[in-house]
Subunit: 155 residues, 2 copies
Protein backbone atom coordinates (compact mmCIF):
# COMPACT_ATOMS: atom_id res chain seq x y z
CA UNK A 1 0.00 0.00 0.00
CA UNK A 2 2.76 2.48 0.79
CA UNK A 3 5.63 2.30 -1.68
CA UNK A 4 8.87 4.24 -1.31
CA UNK A 5 9.22 7.23 -3.61
CA UNK A 6 12.69 8.54 -4.34
CA UNK A 7 13.09 12.22 -5.10
CA UNK A 8 16.10 14.38 -5.78
CA UNK A 9 16.37 17.99 -4.66
CA UNK A 10 16.10 20.30 -7.70
CA UNK A 11 18.03 22.96 -5.76
CA UNK A 12 18.34 24.65 -2.38
CA UNK A 13 17.34 27.76 -0.51
CA UNK A 14 20.32 30.09 -0.18
CA UNK A 15 20.31 32.99 2.27
CA UNK A 16 17.47 34.19 4.45
CA UNK A 17 16.99 32.88 7.97
CA UNK A 18 19.38 30.37 9.52
CA UNK A 19 16.87 29.22 12.12
CA UNK A 20 13.15 28.52 11.90
CA UNK A 21 11.23 31.33 13.61
CA UNK A 22 7.46 31.35 13.59
CA UNK A 23 6.60 34.83 12.37
CA UNK A 24 7.31 37.80 10.08
CA UNK A 25 8.40 35.75 7.08
CA UNK A 26 7.40 38.34 4.49
CA UNK A 27 10.34 40.48 5.60
CA UNK A 28 12.75 37.70 4.58
CA UNK A 29 14.33 37.47 1.16
CA UNK A 30 16.33 34.53 -0.16
CA UNK A 31 17.42 32.83 -3.36
CA UNK A 32 16.30 29.49 -4.73
CA UNK A 33 19.42 28.14 -6.43
CA UNK A 34 18.39 25.42 -8.90
CA UNK A 35 20.99 22.74 -9.57
CA UNK A 36 23.04 23.50 -12.72
CA UNK A 37 24.05 19.84 -12.88
CA UNK A 38 20.41 18.95 -13.60
CA UNK A 39 18.98 21.95 -15.45
CA UNK A 40 19.70 24.44 -18.18
CA UNK A 41 18.65 28.08 -17.68
CA UNK A 42 15.64 27.60 -20.01
CA UNK A 43 13.98 25.49 -17.28
CA UNK A 44 12.78 28.82 -15.86
CA UNK A 45 11.93 30.49 -19.21
CA UNK A 46 8.92 32.83 -18.90
CA UNK A 47 8.75 32.35 -15.12
CA UNK A 48 9.23 36.10 -14.76
CA UNK A 49 5.74 36.57 -16.28
CA UNK A 50 4.36 35.39 -12.95
CA UNK A 51 4.34 37.52 -9.79
CA UNK A 52 4.23 34.55 -7.40
CA UNK A 53 5.57 31.02 -7.28
CA UNK A 54 4.65 27.99 -5.26
CA UNK A 55 7.66 26.29 -3.71
CA UNK A 56 7.59 22.65 -2.61
CA UNK A 57 10.39 21.97 -0.17
CA UNK A 58 11.66 19.46 2.36
CA UNK A 59 11.85 20.22 6.08
CA UNK A 60 15.13 18.33 6.26
CA UNK A 61 16.04 19.57 9.75
CA UNK A 62 13.01 17.89 11.31
CA UNK A 63 14.09 14.74 13.19
CA UNK A 64 12.09 11.50 13.03
CA UNK A 65 10.96 11.88 16.64
CA UNK A 66 9.48 15.32 15.88
CA UNK A 67 7.06 13.89 13.34
CA UNK A 68 3.49 13.75 14.54
CA UNK A 69 1.20 11.07 13.07
CA UNK A 70 -1.88 11.83 15.10
CA UNK A 71 -3.24 15.07 16.56
CA UNK A 72 -1.73 17.90 18.58
CA UNK A 73 -2.43 21.47 19.62
CA UNK A 74 -1.00 23.78 16.91
CA UNK A 75 2.09 25.51 18.33
CA UNK A 76 1.39 23.74 21.61
CA UNK A 77 -1.44 26.20 22.32
CA UNK A 78 -3.79 24.29 24.58
CA UNK A 79 -6.39 27.05 24.16
CA UNK A 80 -6.63 25.87 20.54
CA UNK A 81 -8.24 22.54 19.69
CA UNK A 82 -6.51 19.19 19.23
CA UNK A 83 -5.94 19.15 15.48
CA UNK A 84 -4.83 16.25 13.29
CA UNK A 85 -1.47 16.62 11.59
CA UNK A 86 -3.23 16.70 8.19
CA UNK A 87 -5.45 19.55 9.41
CA UNK A 88 -2.49 21.80 10.17
CA UNK A 89 0.59 22.95 8.24
CA UNK A 90 3.33 22.52 10.85
CA UNK A 91 6.70 21.14 9.83
CA UNK A 92 6.68 18.02 12.02
CA UNK A 93 4.60 16.03 9.54
CA UNK A 94 4.87 12.76 7.61
CA UNK A 95 7.15 13.21 4.57
CA UNK A 96 8.23 16.65 5.87
CA UNK A 97 6.84 18.47 2.82
CA UNK A 98 6.30 22.22 2.89
CA UNK A 99 4.34 24.12 0.24
CA UNK A 100 4.43 27.90 0.25
CA UNK A 101 3.39 30.68 -2.10
CA UNK A 102 5.87 33.56 -2.16
CA UNK A 103 6.65 36.59 -4.32
CA UNK A 104 9.06 36.12 -7.18
CA UNK A 105 11.35 39.16 -7.33
CA UNK A 106 13.48 37.98 -10.25
CA UNK A 107 14.29 34.87 -12.25
CA UNK A 108 17.86 35.03 -13.50
CA UNK A 109 18.42 31.65 -15.14
CA UNK A 110 18.58 29.08 -12.35
CA UNK A 111 18.61 31.67 -9.56
CA UNK A 112 15.23 32.79 -8.32
CA UNK A 113 15.07 35.70 -5.88
CA UNK A 114 11.99 35.49 -3.70
CA UNK A 115 10.43 37.19 -0.70
CA UNK A 116 8.24 35.57 1.94
CA UNK A 117 9.41 31.98 1.63
CA UNK A 118 9.20 30.36 5.08
CA UNK A 119 12.12 27.97 4.54
CA UNK A 120 15.57 28.38 6.06
CA UNK A 121 18.98 28.61 4.43
CA UNK A 122 20.02 25.23 3.01
CA UNK A 123 16.52 23.78 2.67
CA UNK A 124 16.24 21.27 -0.22
CA UNK A 125 13.71 22.36 -2.84
CA UNK A 126 11.59 19.66 -4.52
CA UNK A 127 9.60 21.68 -7.05
CA UNK A 128 8.80 25.19 -8.20
CA UNK A 129 5.47 25.98 -9.86
CA UNK A 130 3.98 29.24 -11.11
CA UNK A 131 0.95 30.57 -9.22
CA UNK A 132 -1.93 30.66 -11.68
CA UNK A 133 -5.15 32.29 -10.53
CA UNK A 134 -6.92 29.25 -12.00
CA UNK A 135 -5.28 27.05 -9.36
CA UNK A 136 -6.44 29.13 -6.40
CA UNK A 137 -9.39 27.79 -4.37
CA UNK A 138 -12.69 27.60 -6.25
CA UNK A 139 -15.54 28.88 -4.08
CA UNK A 140 -15.52 30.48 -0.67
CA UNK A 141 -12.83 29.32 1.75
CA UNK A 142 -14.01 28.34 5.21
CA UNK A 143 -11.56 27.84 8.07
CA UNK A 144 -11.66 27.73 11.89
CA UNK A 145 -10.81 30.66 14.17
CA UNK A 146 -7.49 29.18 15.36
CA UNK A 147 -5.95 29.11 11.89
CA UNK A 148 -6.75 32.77 11.30
CA UNK A 149 -5.26 33.63 14.68
CA UNK A 150 -2.15 31.54 13.98
CA UNK A 151 -1.53 33.42 10.73
CA UNK A 152 -1.97 36.89 12.25
CA UNK A 153 1.73 37.66 12.49
CA UNK A 154 3.11 34.92 10.29
CA UNK A 155 3.93 37.07 7.26
CA UNK B 1 24.31 19.23 -4.06
CA UNK B 2 21.32 17.04 -4.85
CA UNK B 3 20.72 14.36 -2.24
CA UNK B 4 18.15 11.60 -2.55
CA UNK B 5 15.03 12.06 -0.45
CA UNK B 6 12.93 9.03 0.38
CA UNK B 7 9.22 9.48 0.88
CA UNK B 8 6.41 7.07 1.58
CA UNK B 9 2.90 7.50 0.23
CA UNK B 10 0.54 8.48 3.06
CA UNK B 11 -2.37 7.05 1.06
CA UNK B 12 -3.87 6.86 -2.41
CA UNK B 13 -6.57 8.37 -4.56
CA UNK B 14 -9.47 5.95 -4.90
CA UNK B 15 -12.17 6.41 -7.54
CA UNK B 16 -12.56 9.28 -9.97
CA UNK B 17 -10.98 9.19 -13.41
CA UNK B 18 -8.97 6.21 -14.63
CA UNK B 19 -7.14 8.23 -17.28
CA UNK B 20 -5.67 11.72 -17.23
CA UNK B 21 -7.89 14.04 -19.24
CA UNK B 22 -7.08 17.72 -19.44
CA UNK B 23 -10.35 19.41 -18.55
CA UNK B 24 -13.54 19.53 -16.43
CA UNK B 25 -11.95 18.24 -13.24
CA UNK B 26 -14.40 19.97 -10.89
CA UNK B 27 -17.05 17.48 -12.00
CA UNK B 28 -14.94 14.61 -10.63
CA UNK B 29 -15.26 13.29 -7.11
CA UNK B 30 -12.91 10.80 -5.48
CA UNK B 31 -11.69 9.61 -2.10
CA UNK B 32 -8.28 10.06 -0.55
CA UNK B 33 -7.74 6.87 1.42
CA UNK B 34 -5.02 7.46 4.01
CA UNK B 35 -3.03 4.40 5.05
CA UNK B 36 -4.42 2.80 8.24
CA UNK B 37 -1.08 1.03 8.73
CA UNK B 38 0.53 4.44 9.29
CA UNK B 39 -2.17 6.62 10.83
CA UNK B 40 -4.92 6.64 13.39
CA UNK B 41 -8.20 8.41 12.57
CA UNK B 42 -7.20 11.41 14.74
CA UNK B 43 -4.61 12.37 12.09
CA UNK B 44 -7.51 14.16 10.36
CA UNK B 45 -9.13 15.58 13.52
CA UNK B 46 -10.74 18.99 12.86
CA UNK B 47 -10.01 18.79 9.13
CA UNK B 48 -13.74 19.11 8.53
CA UNK B 49 -13.53 22.71 9.81
CA UNK B 50 -11.87 23.57 6.49
CA UNK B 51 -13.75 23.82 3.19
CA UNK B 52 -10.70 23.10 1.02
CA UNK B 53 -7.56 21.02 1.24
CA UNK B 54 -4.28 21.13 -0.60
CA UNK B 55 -3.20 17.72 -1.84
CA UNK B 56 0.42 16.91 -2.66
CA UNK B 57 0.62 13.86 -4.88
CA UNK B 58 2.94 11.88 -7.14
CA UNK B 59 2.36 11.60 -10.90
CA UNK B 60 3.50 7.98 -10.75
CA UNK B 61 2.29 7.10 -14.26
CA UNK B 62 4.69 9.58 -15.87
CA UNK B 63 7.63 7.73 -17.46
CA UNK B 64 11.21 8.98 -17.17
CA UNK B 65 11.29 9.90 -20.85
CA UNK B 66 8.24 12.14 -20.44
CA UNK B 67 10.00 14.38 -17.95
CA UNK B 68 11.01 17.73 -19.34
CA UNK B 69 14.02 19.47 -17.81
CA UNK B 70 14.09 22.50 -20.09
CA UNK B 71 11.31 24.41 -21.84
CA UNK B 72 8.34 23.39 -23.98
CA UNK B 73 5.07 24.77 -25.30
CA UNK B 74 2.36 24.06 -22.70
CA UNK B 75 0.08 21.32 -24.06
CA UNK B 76 2.16 21.39 -27.25
CA UNK B 77 0.41 24.63 -28.28
CA UNK B 78 2.93 26.34 -30.53
CA UNK B 79 0.79 29.50 -30.47
CA UNK B 80 1.77 29.75 -26.81
CA UNK B 81 5.33 30.65 -25.80
CA UNK B 82 8.16 28.29 -24.99
CA UNK B 83 7.87 28.00 -21.23
CA UNK B 84 10.32 26.46 -18.76
CA UNK B 85 9.12 23.39 -16.90
CA UNK B 86 9.22 25.37 -13.63
CA UNK B 87 7.02 28.05 -15.19
CA UNK B 88 4.21 25.60 -15.93
CA UNK B 89 2.32 23.00 -13.92
CA UNK B 90 2.28 20.04 -16.33
CA UNK B 91 2.83 16.53 -15.00
CA UNK B 92 6.00 15.71 -16.97
CA UNK B 93 8.24 17.51 -14.46
CA UNK B 94 11.25 16.67 -12.29
CA UNK B 95 10.12 14.78 -9.15
CA UNK B 96 6.61 14.36 -10.66
CA UNK B 97 4.97 16.34 -7.82
CA UNK B 98 1.44 17.67 -8.19
CA UNK B 99 -0.12 20.19 -5.81
CA UNK B 100 -3.82 20.91 -6.10
CA UNK B 101 -6.44 22.70 -4.01
CA UNK B 102 -9.79 20.92 -4.02
CA UNK B 103 -13.02 20.97 -2.06
CA UNK B 104 -13.29 18.72 0.98
CA UNK B 105 -16.76 17.17 1.04
CA UNK B 106 -16.25 15.04 4.15
CA UNK B 107 -13.52 13.73 6.42
CA UNK B 108 -14.53 10.38 7.86
CA UNK B 109 -11.46 9.23 9.77
CA UNK B 110 -8.83 8.31 7.19
CA UNK B 111 -11.20 8.63 4.23
CA UNK B 112 -11.46 12.09 2.71
CA UNK B 113 -14.12 12.70 0.07
CA UNK B 114 -13.10 15.48 -2.26
CA UNK B 115 -14.22 17.16 -5.47
CA UNK B 116 -12.03 18.74 -8.11
CA UNK B 117 -8.80 16.84 -7.47
CA UNK B 118 -6.97 16.44 -10.80
CA UNK B 119 -5.33 13.13 -9.90
CA UNK B 120 -6.40 9.76 -11.25
CA UNK B 121 -7.47 6.59 -9.45
CA UNK B 122 -4.49 4.96 -7.73
CA UNK B 123 -2.33 8.08 -7.47
CA UNK B 124 0.00 8.02 -4.44
CA UNK B 125 -0.65 10.92 -2.06
CA UNK B 126 2.34 12.51 -0.31
CA UNK B 127 0.67 15.07 1.94
CA UNK B 128 -2.65 16.69 2.78
CA UNK B 129 -2.77 20.22 4.17
CA UNK B 130 -5.70 22.47 5.09
CA UNK B 131 -6.20 25.57 2.94
CA UNK B 132 -5.81 28.58 5.21
CA UNK B 133 -6.61 31.98 3.76
CA UNK B 134 -3.35 33.15 5.33
CA UNK B 135 -1.42 30.88 2.96
CA UNK B 136 -3.01 32.25 -0.20
CA UNK B 137 -0.94 34.69 -2.32
CA UNK B 138 -0.14 38.00 -0.60
CA UNK B 139 -0.61 40.88 -3.03
CA UNK B 140 -1.98 40.97 -6.54
CA UNK B 141 -1.30 37.91 -8.69
CA UNK B 142 0.11 38.62 -12.16
CA UNK B 143 0.23 35.89 -14.82
CA UNK B 144 0.58 35.69 -18.61
CA UNK B 145 -2.33 35.32 -21.06
CA UNK B 146 -1.56 31.69 -21.93
CA UNK B 147 -2.01 30.42 -18.39
CA UNK B 148 -5.45 32.04 -18.13
CA UNK B 149 -6.42 30.52 -21.46
CA UNK B 150 -5.12 27.09 -20.42
CA UNK B 151 -7.27 27.14 -17.29
CA UNK B 152 -10.47 28.21 -19.08
CA UNK B 153 -12.02 24.74 -19.17
CA UNK B 154 -9.79 22.98 -16.68
CA UNK B 155 -12.24 22.86 -13.79
Amino acid sequence: MSETIRLRAIGHVRGGRKEPIDDDWDAVGCTIALDPAQFQPEATASLGDFSHIEVVFHFDQVADEEINRGARHPRGRTDWPLVGIFAQRGKGRPNRIGVTVCRLLSADGLNLKVKGLDAIDGTPVLDVKPVMTGFLPRGEVREPAWSKELMDRYW
